[in-house]
């Protein structure tokens, strides 16, 4: 087992402990806690400290030690949890988590709040010694090499007259004497042994005298460390064996011996009962997911074969196949749920981000979370951390107003930032909402014009203005604040979200706040899509982006420019994107007149009509990455294998829309469509 494995174990464990700590603190913050809550936090901090010491993480140990001291005082009711205490322990848990992160990334440096918090903590440590135990790592025992030269005069006499506790604690005189040295002479005094009727097996009656001539005094003292006080045990100076009568053995049965066994101090509470878990290498789960993917493809192949063989859909085979399909789907869901994890741990980590942002900007922020138990694929959770961190910082920094401005608008002084997760029709929706001033659209537009991102005379809808935030290089803060203005803007957030197959949108109301909403697929491995043919190619359009499919009536397709077409949908005009032409397929329809259309909702909520040749069916498909083999293809997100074994490309509607370019007319035309 290598040090790396050990470290990996340590950090994996730390992650869980930090989570447990945060959960406990949340319970305290919401005033729903008991002694076991504090115990659990204490244990978490304590375990981190214990293991951190093994890796020489001194700062971590020192901090955890002081933190633990304070928790211990709370635990023993010496200290009650008042506002300031709660603040300090909450912040301390943040710093501790940060220290763990720093250690994990092997980074030098100290969290900015480290010193301040150490100070704060020491206010509450009371009389307890706050210095980290500086004594040797273990009680020093006699294991140094024996000195070669021995001084005759150094003969040391040791008396070992054990009491009952000595024996009960698992000590043996022979072992102890053996540990004293090699050159020894031993005498045993039986005088204290009583007659048989007064004999108690549990008590010690033997009195040993040992002369040691080859061991330095310190070593002997060390060897006696564990037995000090367990009877009359110690080093005697000259003259040997001359005993003061007052030291005569008094055999006293220790009180513990007689007492009835007390109920064991169990401290488990229902809340503590942790579910049984199984640790599995993620690669194994991935393999399983892949295999299930193949299974689903295989099912499609069989379905197609049966279809081709001319058996009707009512036959026995088809019924059996339906069962197969059902089971395959069950297995797939079960396998996916292995990787699913509640977003709770992520949300807890993010609470820290909000607290820090509040401190850095001097704004009072109340952080609310909703839907912590929503489960998402673990891979997605990890990849959400950075974008959400940025969004939350933005919400505090740019979203919330300064306290004085809030006062003027008669809003509560404490701003609210809400993080919400929920499952919505096969998707995971995550929202970051603030009750701040809302987006300043005039300013955004001005900025975008200044930067040449939009033509000076462009008329943009509110939602289009909002979406300017996602354009690369856009930053609304007049001055780069030390918080969110770190050279990355919302475009980076958007890229990160898009990379995991998600979409992000904004809704904002002046004076009331903004909501940034992320919509994610439940998993990265399978998606529901509509299979279409474009020219001679089979393609898949993800169902997530589809609003509806339309077969246009005569006159609904209107040419509005040289090669621009719009589709009239219930009184609104929707720009047409001709997929075949766009992708450069040779057999593409020149004019998208008759074909069915798929109405697509773009990320910014604008609507487009994709023209295709035919729409086949809707099905679940397994995503096979293209990038590993081909590199990124614009407009195509991945591929899949269909039932007939052929490859179908999965289109990326948003990429296609930007590939097509936005027709100038679009704004005016779809404005009425909302």
């Amino acid at each position: 087992m290598s040090m790396d494995t050990l470290k990996a174990t340590f950090f994996a464990e730390c992650e869980e402990l930090v989570e447990a700590m945060a959960e406990g603190l949340n319970q305290i913050a919401s005033d729903d806690w008991d002694t076991e809550t504090v115990n659990a936090i204490f244990r978490a901090v304590h375990s981190i400290k214990g293991a951190a010491g093994a890796f020489g993480l001194e700062k971590l140990v020192a901090f955890a030690h002081r933190f633990e001291t304070v928790l211990d005082r709370i635990r023993s009711h010496e200290l009650s949890i008042e506002t300031e205490v709660l603040r300090v322990i909450t912040r301390s848990s943040d710093v501790l988590a940060e220290l763990v992160e720093l250690a994990q990334s092997d980074a030098e440096g100290t969290p900015s709040a480290y010193d301040a918090l150490l100070q704060d903590l020491s206010k509450f440590t009371g009389a307890a010694d706050v210095a980290v135990a500086e004594e040797p790592f273990f009680a020093p025992l006699a294991f140094a090499p024996m000195p070669l030269l021995l001084d005759e005069n150094q003969t040391i006499c040791v008396r070992i007259f054990p009491d009952a506790a000595f024996y009960r604690n698992g000590h043996e005189p022979e072992r102890l004497i053996g540990a004293l040295g090699e050159q020894i002479s031993v005498r045993c005094d039986f005088d204290a042994v009583p007659l048989l009727d007064g004999f108690d097996l549990d008590l010690g009656y033997l009195d040993w005298k040992v002369e040691v001539s080859d061991t330095p005094r310190e070593q002997i003292e060390a060897a006696l460390t564990y037995v000090q006080g367990l009877g009359q045990i110690g080093i005697h100076e000259e003259p040997p064996f001359l005993l003061d009568l007052s030291l005569a053995p008094q055999i006293v049965a220790p009180e513990v011996e007689q007492s009835a066994p007390e109920p064991r101090p169990t401290s488990s509470s229902p809340r503590q009962a942790s579910a049984q878990t199984l640790r599995v290498d993620p690669e194994r789960v991935d393999r399983l997911i892949n295999t299930v993917g193949e299974l689903i493809i295989n099912q499609a192949v069989i379905a197609q074969k049966i279809d081709a063989s001319g058996r009707g859909p009512d036959g026995d085979v088809s019924a059996a196949l339906d069962d197969y399909r059902y089971l395959a789907r069950e297995i797939q869901e079960a396998v996916m749920s292995i990787r699913a994890q509640p977003v709770k741990s992520l949300f807890q980590r993010l609470a820290r981000v909000v607290r820090e942002a509040g401190e850095a900007t001097g704004k009072q922020v109340q952080f609310e979370t909703v839907g912590e138990n929503t489960e998402i694929d673990k891979t997605l959770i990890e990849r959400l951390a950075d974008p959400l961190t940025h969004m939350l910082r933005n919400a505090v920094d740019h979203g919330l107003e300064n306290p004085d401005r809030r006062a003027k608008t008669s809003k509560p002084q404490i701003g609210t930032v809400r993080l919400m997760a929920a499952h919505r029709s096969g998707h995971v929706v995550i929202e970051v909402a603030d009750d701040g001033a809302g987006l300043n659209r005039t300013k955004i537009l001005e900025k975008a014009r200044d930067k040449g991102l939009v033509p000076a005379d462009a008329k943009l809808s509110d939602s289009e203005v909002d979406n300017l935030l996602f354009m690369p290089g856009f930053s609304t803060a007049d001055q780069v604040t030390n918080l969110s203005g770190r050279g990355v803007g919302m475009d980076v957030v958007k890229t990160a979200i898009t990379a995991i197959g998600g979409r992000i949108s904004i809704s904002s109301e002046p004076g009331k706040g903004s909501i940034f909403s992320i919509s994610l697929p439940l998993t990265l491995a399978v998606l529901d899509g509509i299979v279409v043919s474009v020219a001679d190619e089979t393609m898949v359009v993800p169902i997530a982006s589809i609003i509806e499919t339309i077969r246009p009536a005569v006159g609904d397709v209107i040419q509005v420019g040289h090669d621009q077409w719009v589709l009239k949908v219930r009184g609104a005009y929707v720009p047409i994107v001709a997929l075949g032409q766009l992708l450069g397929l040779s057999k593409a329809l020149a004019i998208p007149q008759k074909g069915p259309f798929i109405l697509i909702e773009a990320e910014d909520a604008s609507v487009f009509a994709f023209s295709v040749n035919e729409i086949w069916d809707q099905r679940q498909i397994v995503i096979k990455s293209l990038e590993g083999n081909y590199g990124a293809v614009p407009g195509i997100s991945a591929a899949t294998i269909l039932g007939d074994g052929k490859i179908a490309l999965i289109v990326d509607p948003d990429a296609l829309i930007s590939l097509a370019g936005r027709p100038q007319l679009e704004t005016d035309l779809i404005a009425e469509n909302g």
Binding site: R43, G50, F137, F138, A139, A165, G170, Y226, V256
Partner: protein, 123 residues
Amino acid sequence: MTLSVLAIDDSRTMRMLVSQTLKGAGFDVVTAEDGVQGVETFATRRFDAVITDINMPKLDGFGVIEAIRQSPKNRRVPILVLTTESSEAFRNRARGLGATGWLVKPFEEEGLVNTVRLVTGQG
């Protein structure tokens, strides 16, 4: 004869460290992750020594010592306490319940091995 040691600690890292260290020194090591599991494991077979953490869920180390020492036949089994707590009061409590010795985390590998050897009479 290979001596077997039961190591009880709720920290996975500590369990690995202890077991790695002692196995390297020729001991047979069995681990348990909380006090209850420790006491249950102890009952399943013969152990030559027990190393236990103190702060653990379900049953703490003091409870483990108490539970093991409760039976007269376990009087002679050395029980070492391995913990970050190093205060006098703490030691006295552990010892009052029947702990044979104590080690402070973090431990030095040699120190752990030597101490286990000492209390098992293999020193």
